[in-house]
């Protein structure tokens, strides 16, 4: 296929579906659930469950554009409300992990329930009080009990998006990262699927956040939490060489999750940024100010310059996102491009939404409108799924051809 910016008909249809939900279901309850914080937004949850039951974005998209379509739809929903989006009843990041590192049988076992019955959620638990992007510092342990053929998990996880939803409702899953051998560093990190209802795992708190307040960001404690041997994603064996060279499937498989999830997070960012930018342009139009794209620089107003720069930044972020997604659709390695998209989108929309508040003045700052909320919601995209700096580090290693031991 040649270079083209023309979405598939299926992608357009998917976008229109999601836009309708964003506009008519999410926007009207946006402020309500930001204020309520942590309440389950059943209006949205039930709508999404009814609309998407029995199908996934990928199945809908037609050949070759599945991930692009997911990104386009994600942008649309986050244009509606990024906090509510994170309450979407779906496997979410837990699903990405299972899809990236699981066997076909595991995929069927853990993901099939998401196509039937009542709404359910998936989550991924990586971060710990002392281990964020430095996943090798994970303290949560997994010990194999040969007598029962089970893994026994112990530890504390924080910042687990949708962690409460995943554990409170039957059929949900949390993918927990734990070490099977602390002396092995990264190579000892494995991921385990913990289904809802498993004894020994519980939510002990929910974070109060700057934004995305509708989303449940859970603290989980695992105390002798037992899961069957077959809930391990990837292989149990630990290769003690440098995993960057040795091709350790376990850690690499887990990290591969990010190659799929970072474009989605970038698309989320773009959605929030577009919400703010669209609103700024509409508000300006109500004031009779239309952005001129053919005015000479001397005649451009400061607002026109700002808006044009915001548009360029947002579109650059969007195109980098689509490129990373398209590479996945092609089966190409997109580790570099996924981090580029995430780094760009997270920072771009942080700035775009902050500028939107500035441009709109009192309208921007007031809670009567949603602009201030979008600014608060946007910032998380520069932090989670690898901070701006972690993604810069990944990009830097790739363009310089340095391993993680050379560029630390």
């Amino acid at each position: 296929m040649p270079i083209s910016f023309d979405p598939n008909p299926a992608t357009i249809a998917g976008r229109e579906d999601m836009h309708e939900i964003a506009l008519n279901v999410m926007r009207p309850i946006s402020r309500k659930y930001d204020d309520l914080e942590h309440e389950m937004p059943w209006e949205y949850v039930n709508t999404m469950w009814d609309r998407t039951l029995g199908k996934t974005g990928k199945a809908d998209a037609g050949p070759g554009d599945g991930m692009v379509t997911v990104c386009v739809q994600t942008e649309e929903l986050c244009w509606g409300d990024a906090g509510l989006y994170l309450r979407t009843p779906s496997p979410l990041l837990g699903g990405s992990a299972v899809a990236a590192a699981g066997t076909p049988a595991q995929r069927e076992r853990f993901l099939a329930p998401f196509r039937q019955g009542r709404p359910k959620w998936g989550a991924m638990a990586i971060t710990e009080p002392q281990a964020g992007s430095d996943a090798a510092a994970i303290q949560t342990t997994a010990v194999f009990d040969e007598k029962t053929n089970e893994w026994v998990l112990n530890g504390t996880k924080i910042f687990c998006t949708a962690g409460q939803g995943a554990l409170d409702y039957e059929g949900g899953i949390v993918v927990v990262w734990a070490t099977v051998d602390k002396s092995a560093g990264r190579a000892g990190i494995k991921s385990f699927v913990v289904p809802a209802g498993t004894p020994g795992i519980k939510v002990v708190g929910l974070e109060k956040k700057l934004g995305i307040r509708a989303s449940d960001t859970a603290t989980l404690v695992l105390e002798n939490c037992r899961v069957p041997a077959d809930n391990l994603l990837g292989k149990a064996e630990v290769k003690k060489q440098d995993p960057a060279q040795a091709g350790d499937k376990g850690f690499k498989g887990a990290m591969a999750t990010f190659d799929a999830s970072r474009p989605i997070v970038a698309a989320m960012a773009v959605g929030v940024g577009r919400a703010a930018l669209d609103f700024v342009k509409e508000e300006l139009e109500r004031q009779g100010i239309v952005i001129r794209y053919d005015a000479p620089p001397r005649e451009q107003t400061a607002i026109e310059r700002d808006v044009i720069d915001m548009e360029a930044e947002l579109q650059a972020a969007r195109l980098l996102t689509w490129r990373a997604a398209k590479m996945l659709d092609r089966g190409q390695r997109n580790n570099l491009e996924a981090s580029m998209a995430k780094a760009k989108a997270g920072l771009a929309v942080t700035k775009i939404t902050q500028k939107a508040v500035e441009l709109l003045g009192p309208l921007g700052y007031s809670k009567k409108l949603l602009v201030e909320k979008w600014m608060r919601d946007a910032k998380i995209n520069d932090i989670y799924e690898g901070t701006q700096q972690i993604n810069q580090l990944i990009v830097a290693r790739r363009i310089l051809d340095y391993s993680s031991s050379v560029l630390r």
Binding site: V68, I399, L400, Y402
Partner: protein, 361 residues
Amino acid sequence: MIDFQPTDEQQLVIDTVRQFAQNEIRPLARECEEAGKLPEKVLSAAHELGLVANALPESVGGGGERSAITGALVAEELAWGDLAIALAILSPGLTALPIAEWGDEAQKAGLKRFVGSGFVPGSLAIVEPRFDSDPFRPATRARRDGDGWVLDGSKCFVPWLDGGAETLVVADAEGTPQVFVVPRDAAGLRAERERNMGISALPTAELQLSGVRVPEGARLGGAKGVDLRRLVAQGRVALAAMAVGVARAAFEVARDYAKERQVFGVPVATKQAIAFKLADMAIEIDGARLLTWEAAWKLDRGEDATREALLARRQAARVALEVADGAVQVLGGHGYIRDYLPELHLRNARGFACFEAMALV
């Protein structure tokens, strides 16, 4: 379907031009800049590649394969080699492409010489030497006079290579901006070579037009005229692509230097302050390139690309400047020395905010 992969044919073009830029252009970039002279042999060799001729209609012997995307791919690679030489190589298009697109039969007949055996330069006068220069509202006027037109005004940044016969001039024709074909030796036309901060190897002229008389047939496209919005967008896409090329060149010099240069016993690239700067450069370059491709794609679909071309040009110009400045910084004192290329990249990159339609796709 959304896709970011050039066709096999386009990839072949990219590979060919990249090799040409590396082997023929880059080695002469510094020498030509210092001497203020173009490498004639390189222009002839580039002409043999048919980069402009391929885009001209088959009816005049061209390849009939004009594509703004392909044009942008070519422009980036050439500008990676050197901006001034790239602009010179693409200069035939400044005259030939608008004539091919909007010219009447008589005007098109003259296109044959651009596909002939030797390099024939072209020229387009659009920018005016004033701080409020506006391509859509030129201060240069064309006034009807009997069976012809009389042009008055001034232009700058006009590519003015040896051997050119005429230049296209954008002028306000009684309320509408239009394009006129003006012989270089027309009475009342005075050209003076400019000296600019960068692109020194490229001869550019400041033009004074004082009562320059041209016949009715000099108006490009006759009564139908020219779609100036499209012409300007074509220029902005070309410049955006070239800005990406300059940025990529500066980035690569900085990257390679940072991997070589030792500080405190390790390459300076292993320091995050430098590594992250390089990462940001790479991200911004790719983002600007994709914006450029999108604008080019719109042009190829025959749609109004004014907005997309503006976004691409602005973004790419900003990125080129920041990356070139960053490259000078990464090289430190060496970045300031003319033995290295980043200082030239910085001077060239600043131009993208000031240029207009100095190349076309």
